[in-house]
């Protein structure tokens, strides 16, 4: 096989047994890789009703056929498992250097099953793998673990690991690779912790074989030259201010979630905007492997309380811990971000859960005595302290560690958790960006912007401007973006490059550039129709997995705040999210029933059986 390495490593943690298997070429073509391979294996091997933190769950780490090839942003891998936060699936995705190293060590994917009796880590050096004792690493931060593992294996090795939060089964624990890149969402770190798997360490010096290296090289050169010429003409905002530069857009479109989504604009927005980050705290940019953008931020804060050095924050962290908690002190947000990276926590759910706690206190549903400290809007010190306590499950942190839905429910007010499928939203208010609400509600992982990101057409005008306040007509383009994102996720690419540079300029976003890359890399001769269908197959296989886990239309929901309370401020003032109307259209576009179930006819068109397996 070309593009794909053709090999999967199975790691049975219960028996401490490893074995290699061949990647089925037909499955590879039909599911591409990454997210596609993840659902392919979950569908076959994981009972949708199993306890996510039991030995019955699988943890799949899968690269895509473009990972490690040198295609721009071909740096990513996907962690898929059944989520302890949502009970649905995860699609936690990260870049950096680890995924490329894994591919170059010879594997498309690692599949972990069972549960180790004692803490272990997996060490892979160019196709030779072994499980090693990790007792001495238990309790260590992600940074310390990475340093110790490189010292005892190979100084050039790349590490993906959990921190203390994953060990303590915090429901939104992350898997961190290359110290600060996060497969952050839905609690993949807790699944790793439940398996007593502390880390995966990889050294790979091989090359990814390409089917047509000459064609790949010519196409790659053309894409990169065009990208660089355009960036010279109009410097890229993502390069200059990172994703933190989004604050100005969401603020002025009235979709910057503030005060646990009670408002759509934040008075202190300029203090947390990307330009402030660049001016006060940026040390340098950081790029993942083969990335010409470099949106990563290495930062340093000189401050007696919030001082430190590390990576971040991203826009989503700034919304969740900044505007959403009404914290306008960027240094406090950065400090809480550093703690999340080192302890292995998802910054979105962490910030959103603290914001929810702040509202529960404000409305009198939670006593500050229970929290153990004052908890008022805008309190940066509380943000940092509670983040630490959550990682350690110390005091009230033990309740925060369950996420906002379980916290709000335990206080008798689940409606105050800003979640879909119990997962907290990223930072785009659906009352002012209608399709975003549809994407949150129908994403297979719950509240997420990365499984089909309508912010592109509603807020950023890519590939063309669409009125963010209009709900009619949104179902069709949202579906097209979801299909595209499945292809991007499966190929091993990053959405930031692919949407602008490797997809058509129409709203149905045909993945023309990805097609060219995939065919040159794999020789699989995808037609455009086959590639689009592969995206649809992934979406439908995931959906049918959720159906088997008991999900249907009633879980494709948003909190009543977003669908019944008019937004009180900003350009979207007076709006609610018209989710129900959009859902009817959306299910029709998908050829699903009115209850959100894929029809047998639709599954059959995609080569899937009635359970969603293919």
């Amino acid at each position: 096989m070309k593009g794909w390495m053709g090999k999967i490593l199975r790691v049975d943690l219960t028996r401490a047994a490893l074995h290699e298997e061949t990647l089925d070429p037909l499955a590879a073509k039909d599911y591409i890789g990454g997210r596609g391979l993840g659902i392919y294996f979950l569908q076959r091997e994981v009972d949708p009703l199993c306890d996510p933190l039991s030995a019955d769950n699988l943890l799949v780490m899968a690269t895509g056929p473009l990972t490690g090839t040198g295609a721009p942003t071909g740096a990513r891998y996907m962690i898929m498992t059944k989520s302890p936060l949502t009970g649905a699936i995860t699609c936690s995705n990260a870049g950096g250097r680890f995924p490329t190293e894994l591919k170059r060590a010879g594997y498309d994917a690692l599949i972990f099953s069972g549960r180790a009796a004692r803490p272990v880590y997996l060490w892979i050096a160019d196709g030779k793998a072994e499980l090693r004792d990790a007792a001495h690493l238990w309790g260590k931060t992600t940074h310390a673990t990475t340093d110790l593992l490189r010292a005892e294996t190979d100084p050039k090795a790349r590490v993906a690991c959990i921190g203390p939060a994953g060990e303590r089964l915090v429901k939104f624990a992350a898997v961190m690779n290359d110290k600060d890149r996060a497969a952050g969402r839905s609690g993949v770190g807790a699944v790793m912790g439940s398996k007593n798997l502390k880390a995966v360490v990889v050294r790979g010096t091989g090359k990814v074989p390409l089917a047509d290296p000459e064609r790949f090289k010519v196409y790659n050169k053309d894409i990169i030259e065009r990208f660089k010429a355009a960036a010279k003409e109009t410097p890229l905002g993502l390069t200059i201010n990172g994703t933190a530069g989004v604050v100005i857009t969401t603020q002025h479109l009235g979709v910057l979630p503030t005060k646990n989504w009670q408002q759509g604009t934040f008075e202190g927005w300029e203090q947390i905007h990307g330009e402030t980050l660049s001016a006060k705290y940026l040390v340098r940019n950081k790029a993942c492997y083969a990335c010409p953008i470099g949106c990563g931020r290495i930062t340093r804060v000189e401050d007696p309380v919030f001082g430190g050095e590390g990576e971040g924050p991203e826009y989503e962290t700034i919304y969740a811990m900044g505007s959403n908690c009404m914290v306008d002190n960027l240094a406090a947000v950065i400090k809480a971000n550093y703690i999340c990276n080192e302890q292995g926590l998802d910054t979105i759910t962490m910030g959103a859960t603290i914001a929810c706690a702040m509202e529960l206190v404000e409305k009198g549903h939670l006593e500050e005595a229970t929290v153990g400290r004052p908890l008022k809007w805008g309190d940066g010190e509380a943000l940092v302290a509670l983040t630490r306590m959550t990682a350690a499950r110390e005091g009230f942190g033990d309740r925060l560690a369950e996420g906002s839905y379980r916290l709000a429910e335990s206080c008798g007010h689940p409606e105050l958790a800003m979640v879909a499928k119990k997962q907290e939203f990223p930072g785009y208010e659906p009352r002012g960006a209608q399709a975003m609400g549809l994407a949150y509600a129908t994403s297979p992982i719950g509240g997420s912007h990365m499984r089909g990101d309508p912010a592109y057409f509603e807020l950023f005008g890519v590939p063309e401007k669409v009125d963010p306040l209009e709900w009619r007509g949104k179902a069709k383009i949202t579906k097209a973006f979801q299909d595209l994102s499945a292809i991007i996720d499966a190929a091993g690419l990053c959405i930031f490059f692919a949407v602008r540079n490797l997809a058509g300029k129409q709203l149905d976003v045909p993945p023309t550039g990805i097609l060219e890359y995939l065919n040159a890399a794999t020789g699989a001769d995808y037609t455009l129709e086959e590639l689009i269908q592969a995206g649809e197959r992934i979406i439908n296989a995931e959906r049918q997995y959720l159906v088997r886990a008991g999900f249907s239309r009633k879980e494709d929901a948003l909190p009543p705040r977003l669908t019944t309370e008019p937004l009180p401020d900003g350009p979207a003032k007076g709006m609610v999210c018209h989710l129900d109307e959009m859902l009817d259209d959306y299910y029709r576009e998908q050829n699903w029933t009115a209850d959100g179930i894929p029809t047998d006819e639709r599954l059959a068109q995609l080569g899937l059986d009635t359970e969603g397996r293919g």
Binding site: L238, I240, N241, V246, I248, T249, T265, E316, A455
Partner: protein
């Protein structure tokens, strides 16, 4: 009349050198479109405009002392 303009992201290059925030004199009743022409913003660049914190169309007439924010959207997340 005099209005105060603040340029972010892709609109920075239309601001006077090294100044992101500046006052500019413009005839009474002039619109946002007139301001953009004065700053020599080519018509193919369509920034997002906010006047006194609220999003505005380019046809909006300006008043003395208005605070105007100009920026082009940046993606991310």
């Amino acid at each position: 009349m005099i209005v105060r303009v603040k340029c972010f992201t892709g609109m920075r290059r239309f601001a006077p050198a090294d100044r992101t925030e500046f006052d500019i004199e413009i005839e009474a009743g002039a619109s946002v479109a007139r301001l953009l022409a004065l700053l020599e913003v080519p018509p193919d660049i369509q920034p997002i405009v906010a006047v006194n914190g609220a999003r505005a169309e380019t046809s909006k007439p300006l008043r003395d002392g208005d605070k105007i924010v100009l920026f082009t959207p940046v993606e991310g997340g």
